[in-house]
């Protein structure tokens, strides 16, 4: 029999948003660490670091996120390692975010004027100090806006994890819809919740972008 869409259904969907947030947070944190490594490898003088990083970025930028999720989820099971949908989603999205953040941040590092690198070489600063104190702080300023922009993409991207059975916002919507057959209400609510998560971030990204362009105009 068909259930009606009531308070229980409403809260089931709203509370599932926490898993969307959790998955986004994990993927973003992992992606930030991976992305920094990828970005640094991409601009390395050492070909042995640079080429694998380029290959990694091309691979993940050139395939759909859904395939990446499938490959991680089913890949582990092929090797008889049981992998929960949560684990598979977290790993796949982390790998995905690493590639994209790595490429965004590479661009930001390369946007730091060459004279800054030269000045830090000329002072005798070693790689770590050069990056930590001179280059990355300047690159970070440039990176904030596009990074927040990518975070919005990532949050929306977590909806694909529903397909491997991870119960986040979209999957919760599907479950409720299967019981209530009220797709417009259900997915309207789901979309609204994504919007509530993403819209403030979009505003923030735009605001930061404007502040950055003002700061660099002088």
């Amino acid at each position: 029999m068909i259930r009606s869409f009531g308070a229980n259904e409403f809260w089931f969907i709203v509370l599932a948003a926490q898993w969307t947030v959790a998955l986004s947070a994990v993927a973003f944190t992992g992606g930030a660490l991976g992305g920094l490594a990828i970005a640094l490898a991409r601009i390395s003088q050492t070909a042995l670091l640079r080429y694998p990083a380029i290959g990694y970025v091309r691979l993940f930028q050139g395939t759909p996120l859904l395939m990446q999720l499938f490959l991680v989820f089913f890949g582990f099971n092929i090797f008889n390692v049981s992998m929960s949908p949560w684990g598979a989603a977290a790993i796949a999205l982390t790998l995905h975010a690493s590639a994209f953040l790595g490429e965004i941040w590479r661009g930001c590092i390369q946007a730091v004027p060459g004279g800054q690198f030269e000045a830090s070489w000329a002072l005798g600063l070693k790689y770590y100090d050069r990056m930590r104190y001179v280059v990355l702080p300047q690159a970070a300023k440039i990176a904030v806006a596009p990074t927040v922009g990518f975070l919005v993409q990532l949050i929306k991207g977590t909806s694909l994890a529903s397909i491997i059975g991870f119960v986040e916002l979209t999957r919760a919507g599907q479950i409720v819809n299967n019981a209530t057959f009220a797709p417009f209400t259900v997915f309207g609510l789901v979309a609204a919740l994504y919007f509530i998560l993403c819209w403030p971030l979009s505003l923030l990204a735009r605001n930061l972008e404007q502040r950055f362009s003002v700061a660099t105009r002088r």
């Binding site: 800054q116 030269e118 600063l125 001179v134």
Partner: protein
């Protein structure tokens, strides 16, 4: 006194070796040969001015001295250590060679004081209090002690360049390289930077200066090196160089920049 201290260091290490020696140095950018068979020796305390038309290789020449550019042939020694022998030596030498750039290249996200303290603390392992004291002392010496807490963008070009000089001096270098230090400045700010450099020269610093400021060359240089098309065409003391240049190319150049009068 800081000046005495830096003098002592200059005297203490390898007094027999010249501060800089370049032997048969060739450099190519792809198919373009930027330096051709360069031989140059700079003694301790010498002030060398390198001049020449744009694209003559003068900037490339001094950038080779701290290996911002690598060379394809020849040997470069700084303070008796061969730079062209491997990356370990390069790191060692960069600490001892201060460089001042045309575009200042101050770190924009740090205050003037932080700009001056970073390398001594991270490269030399100097304690914060000591690094700050040294930085303030050199900022006073380039006559901008009151700007220490400001950010580079809040300063004029001339002030920024003097900070850049102070930042290099904080490392207590044995040699100072200047790559067209006044070319990016508004005309009214050129003199304040040149005055700072003249002070430095009079204190006995070894200096290699790429510049078109021929007044500075006359006043300060022990030798003027004229380059054209990647070669050293002529070297001489400023008196002879300006009044009686041997080569036609030199005469043409001096005529163009108004250096002979």
């Amino acid at each position: 006194m800081p000046d005495a201290a830096s003098q002592v260091t200059i005297q203490e290490t390898d007094p027999g070796m010249p501060a800089i020696r370049m032997e048969n140095v060739d450099k190519w950018f792809g198919h373009f040969q930027a330096l051709k068979n360069i031989d140059l020796e700079v003694d301790r305390g010498d002030k060398i001015v390198v001049c020449g038309p744009s694209g003559s290789g003068k900037s490339t020449l001094i950038r080779c001295i701290n290996q911002l550019e690598t060379v394809q042939r020849g040997r470069i020694f700084v303070d008796g250590i061969e730079l062209t022998a491997g990356p370990k030596n390069v790191e060692k030498i960069r600490r001892e060679v201060g460089m001042v750039f045309q575009q200042f290249n101050l770190f924009p996200h740090m205050t003037v004081l932080q700009n001056c303290m970073l390398a001594p603390m991270k490269v030399r392992g100097v304690k914060r209090a000591e690094a700050e004291e040294t930085a303030r002392r050199y900022l006073a010496r380039v006559k901008i002690p009151e700007q220490a807490e400001k950010y580079p963008a809040q300063l004029s070009g001339g002030q920024q360049q003097r900070v850049a000089i102070a930042r290099a001096l904080c490392m207590n270098p044995k040699v100072m390289l200047f790559d067209e230090p006044t070319s990016a400045l508004d005309p009214e700010m050129v003199q304040e930077v040149l005055d700072t450099m003249i002070d430095l020269a009079q204190e006995g610093m070894t200096m290699v200066v790429v510049t078109h400021e021929m007044g500075f060359a006359r006043k300060v240089a022990d030798r003027v090196v004229f380059m054209d098309k990647g070669e050293i065409v002529e070297t001489g003391d400023p008196e002879t160089f300006f009044s009686n240049p041997r080569h036609q190319r030199t005469r043409t150049f001096l005529g163009q920049i108004g250096g002979t009068q």
